[in-house]
C-alpha cells in the first residue's frame, strides 16, 4: 500500500469518526446554549414569581405555570384522541388489513407525518375554528380543544408507525399457537399479540405524546393564545397558551439579554428536559427490540 493511499485512508477515517461523534457534540451544544441563556432567569426572577400563575411579561410577571398547564391540557386532549385511534390503526394495519390495503394505508399515514404543521394550523383557523364555534356553541373556536384535535392528528403517525413495528416484531409462532388452541383472531390479538408487543406500544404512546408536547406552529395558530391557568378538562373549550407557542410568539419581540429573553430560554430548558426524559425512557425500551431496518428493508 503506498503512502498517499494510507494518508487518504487516515484522513477519511478521521472525518467519519468526527461525523459519528457530532450528534453528541450537538446535544451538548444545545444544552449548553439553553443553560447559558436561560439559567440567569433564576438570578433575575424570584422563584415565587416564576412559579406563580400570572404570565404578563410587559409588567414583569413571569409566572410559567399557566404555560406549563396549557401544554399539559392541550397534550392531554391530544393523547385522548391520538392514543386509541393511533393504536387501533396500528392493529388494523399490522394484524387485519390484507396486503394490498396495507400498501395503501402505510404511505397515507406517512403523508400525514409529512404535512407541515402550518398547513394544519391554517385549516384549523379557517375551517375547524368556525365549525367548532357553531357546533359547540362557544364564543370562539380558537381553543385548547382545537389545538388538541390538530395535535392528535400530528401525533397519530408517530404512534401508528412505532406501534405497528412493535406488533410486526411479535414472532409468527405466538399467533399460530393461539390460533391452534382454538382462539379466534380477535382473541389472539387482544390476549397474545398486543401483550407481547406491550413495551413497544408503550414506547409508541410516549413518543407520540413527546411529539405533541413539542409541536409549535399548529398550536400557536389555533389555541387562541390566552395564558390562563387551566383548572380542569372543561378548560379545553377555552383559549389556552402552551410553552412552545409562547416562545414562538414572543421571542421575536424581545431584546437579547433582557429578563423576558432569559425566561423564554428557561422555558426552552423545561421543554428540553421533558423531551430528554421521554426519549431516554423510550430508548431504554427500543434498545431491547430488533433493529427496525431488518424488517423494513427486507
Amino acid at each position: 500500500m503506498n503512502s498517499s493511499l494510507k494518508r487518504t485512508e487516515f484522513i477519511i477515517s478521521l472525518l467519519i469518526k468526527i461525523s459519528g461523534y457530532s450528534a453528541i457534540i450537538f446535544v451538548a451544544l444545545i444544552f449548553y446554549f439553553l443553560l447559558s441563556e436561560g439559567l440567569p432567569t433564576l438570578r433575575d426572577v424570584p422563584l415565587a414569581s416564576l412559579m406563580s400563575t400570572r404570565w404578563y411579561p410587559i409588567e414583569d410577571y413571569f409566572g410559567i405555570l399557566p404555560l406549563i398547564g396549557g401544554s399539559i391540557l392541550v397534550t392531554l386532549g391530544a393523547g385522548l384522541i391520538a392514543v386509541p385511534i393511533g393504536i387501533g390503526t396500528a392493529i388494523f394495519i399490522a394484524e387485519i388489513a390484507p396486503r394490498r390495503a396495507r400498501e395503501i394505508l402505510k404511505p397515507l399515514v406517512e403523508i400525514l407525518a409529512g404535512l407541515p404543521s402550518v398547513v394544519l394550523g391554517f385549516l384549523g383557523i379557517l375551517i375547524l375554528a368556525s365549525f367548532l364555534r357553531r357546533f359547540l356553541n362557544i364564543p370562539t373556536g380558537l381553543t385548547a380543544f382545537n389545538g388538541s384535535l390538530l395535535l392528535g392528528g400530528i401525533a397519530i403517525p408517530t404512534i401508528v408507525s412505532v406501534a405497528e413495528d412493535a406488533l410486526d416484531a411479535v414472532p409468527r409462532s405466538y399467533r399460530d399457537a393461539a390460533l391452534a388452541l382454538g382462539a379466534t383472531q380477535w382473541q389472539t390479538i387482544w390476549r397474545v399479540t398486543l401483550p407481547a408487543a406491550r413495551s413497544g406500544v408503550l414506547t409508541a404512546i410516549m413518543l407520540g405524546i413527546g411529539r405533541a408536547i413539542g409541536e409549535t406552529m399548529a398550536v400557536m395558530m389555533v389555541t387562541g393564545n390566552a395564558p390562563v391557568m387551566p383548572t380542569g378538562l372543561g378548560m379545553l373549550f377555552a383559549p389556552a397558551r402552551t410553552m412552545t407557542a409562547t416562545i414562538a410568539a414572543e421571542m421575536g419581540e424581545v431584546s437579547q439579554g433582557s429578563v423576558h429573553y432569559e425566561v423564554l430560554f428557561f422555558i426552552g430548558i423545561v421543554l428540553f428536559m421533558i423531551s430528554l426524559a421521554i426519549n431516554v425512557t423510550a430508548s431504554a425500551v427500543v434498545f431491547r427490540q430488533r433493529k427496525r431496518s431488518e424488517r423494513i428493508l427486507s
Binding site: 500500500m1 487518504t8 485512508e9 461525523s19 459519528g20 457530532s22 450528534a23 450537538f26 446535544v27 444545545i30 439553553l34 441563556e37 385511534i85 387501533g88 390503526t89 388494523f92 394495519i93 387485519i96 394505508l105 404511505p107 397515507l108 403523508i111 400525514l112 404535512l115 407541515p116 404543521s117 402550518v118 398547513v119 394544519l120 394550523g121 391554517f122 385549516l123 379557517l126 392528528g153 397519530i156 379466534t184 380477535w186 413518543l207 413527546g210 413539542g214 409541536e215 409549535t216 406552529m217 395558530m221 412552545t244 414562538a248 421571542m251 421575536g252 430560554f265 426552552g268 421543554l271 423531551s275 430528554l276 421521554i278 431516554v280 423510550a282 434498545f287 433493529k291 431496518s293 423494513i296
Partner: protein
C-alpha cells in the same frame, strides 16, 4: 352455552371488533385524503404564472409568492449542504466503524434525543449559537444550519440502517481482494445502500422544508422586496409566509392563502413521492 353457540358468539365479537378497528382506521385515513384534496381544489384557481413568478403586492394581498418559493428552495439546499455529508458520515461511522460499547450507546442516545427535541427549541439554539454568538445574523446561513442539525437524526438513522442491510459477505470479499476499508465502503457498500440513504435524505429534507418554528428567529423574513443576494441575507419561506398571511395580515384573500398552502404541499408531497418511488424501485431491483 353449547359449543356451537359459543363459537358463533365469539365470531360475532370478532366481527364487531374488526368493524370497530376498520372504523378507527378510516377516521385516521379519510381526513388525510380530504385535507389534501380540499387544498388542491381550493388552491388550484390561485395558481397562475404571476402567482408563481411574481412578488407580493398590496401588503401581500395580491401578486405572487416567488420570494417565498425561492427562499424555501434555498433553505432546503442549504440544509442539504450541511446535513447530508455529516449525516451520511455519521451513518457510515455507526455501521462500519463503531464497536458496540459505551461510546456508541451514548451516540445512539444523542441521536434519539436530537430527534425528540421540539422544533422551537432548535430555533432558540440557532438564535443563541448561529445568530448571536457566531454573529451570522438572521440569515439563510443561520437558518440552514439550524434546520440541518434538526434533520441530522433522520439522515443518520436511515443511512445506518441501509448500510447495515448490505450483506457482510460483500465487505469480506472486497477486503480479501486487497481493498482498504474506505475503498470497500466507497466502491461496494455505499453504492448498494444508496437508494435507502437517498430515501432518508429526502424525507429529512422534506421535514426541513415544511418547518417554521426553527427559522422563526434564525432566518425568516416577514416581507422582502427582492430575492436574497447572499447567505447572510434573511429570506421569505413558504411555511412562514403561510403562517404570516393566515394570522398576521387582516383582510387576506382566502384564494392566496390556499394557493400558498397548495404550493407548499406540492413541494413537500413531491419530495415524499420521490422518496417512495426510489424506495420501491430499489426494493424491486435488489438481488440479495
Amino acid at each position: 352455552m353449547r359449543p356451537a353457540q359459543l363459537s358463533s358468539y365469539r365470531h360475532l365479537i370478532q366481527r364487531l371488533g374488526f368493524g370497530m378497528l376498520t372504523g378507527i382506521t378510516l377516521i385516521t385515513v379519510i381526513p388525510i385524503v380530504v385535507v389534501v384534496l380540499y387544498i388542491f381544489i381550493q388552491g388550484v384557481p390561485a395558481i397562475s404564472l404571476e402567482f408563481l413568478t411574481g412578488f407580493p403586492r398590496q401588503g401581500m394581498r395580491a401578486g405572487g409568492i416567488l420570494p417565498a418559493i425561492v427562499g424555501t428552495f434555498l433553505l432546503t439546499l442549504g440544509t442539504a449542504v450541511f446535513a447530508v455529508p455529516l449525516g451520511i458520515g455519521a451513518g457510515i461511522y455507526l455501521s462500519e466503524y463503531a464497536t458496540e460499547g459505551r461510546l456508541t450507546r451514548l451516540i445512539r442516545l444523542a441521536i434519539i434525543n436530537l430527534a425528540g427535541i421540539p422544533s422551537v427549541v432548535y430555533g432558540l439554539f440557532g438564535l443563541g449559537l448561529f445568530v448571536l454568538f457566531l454573529n451570522f445574523g438572521t440569515s439563510i446561513l443561520a437558518a440552514s444550519l439550524t434546520l440541518s442539525i434538526m434533520t441530522l437524526p433522520v439522515i443518520i438513522s436511515t443511512a445506518e440502517e441501509s448500510l447495515r442491510a448490505v450483506p457482510q459477505s460483500f465487505r469480506v470479499v472486497s477486503i480479501s481482494l486487497g481493498a482498504t476499508r474506505w475503498q470497500t465502503i466507497r466502491r461496494i457498500v455505499l453504492p448498494e445502500a444508496l437508494p435507502g440513504i437517498l430515501t432518508g435524505v429526502i424525507l429529512g429534507l422534506e421535514r426541513a422544508a415544511g418547518e417554521t418554528a426553527p427559522i422563526l428567529f434564525t432566518g425568516a423574513a416577514f416581507f422582502l422586496p427582492r430575492l436574497p443576494q447572499s447567505p447572510f441575507d434573511a429570506t421569505m419561506a413558504l411555511p412562514y409566509h403561510l403562517f404570516v398571511i393566515s394570522t398576521q395580515v387582516p383582510g387576506m384573500p382566502a384564494q392566496i392563502q390556499y394557493g400558498t398552502a397548495l404550493v407548499l404541499l406540492v413541494f413537500v408531497l413531491g419530495m415524499n413521492l420521490l422518496a417512495t418511488v426510489i424506495r420501491s424501485r430499489a426494493r424491486a431491483r435488489r438481488q440479495w
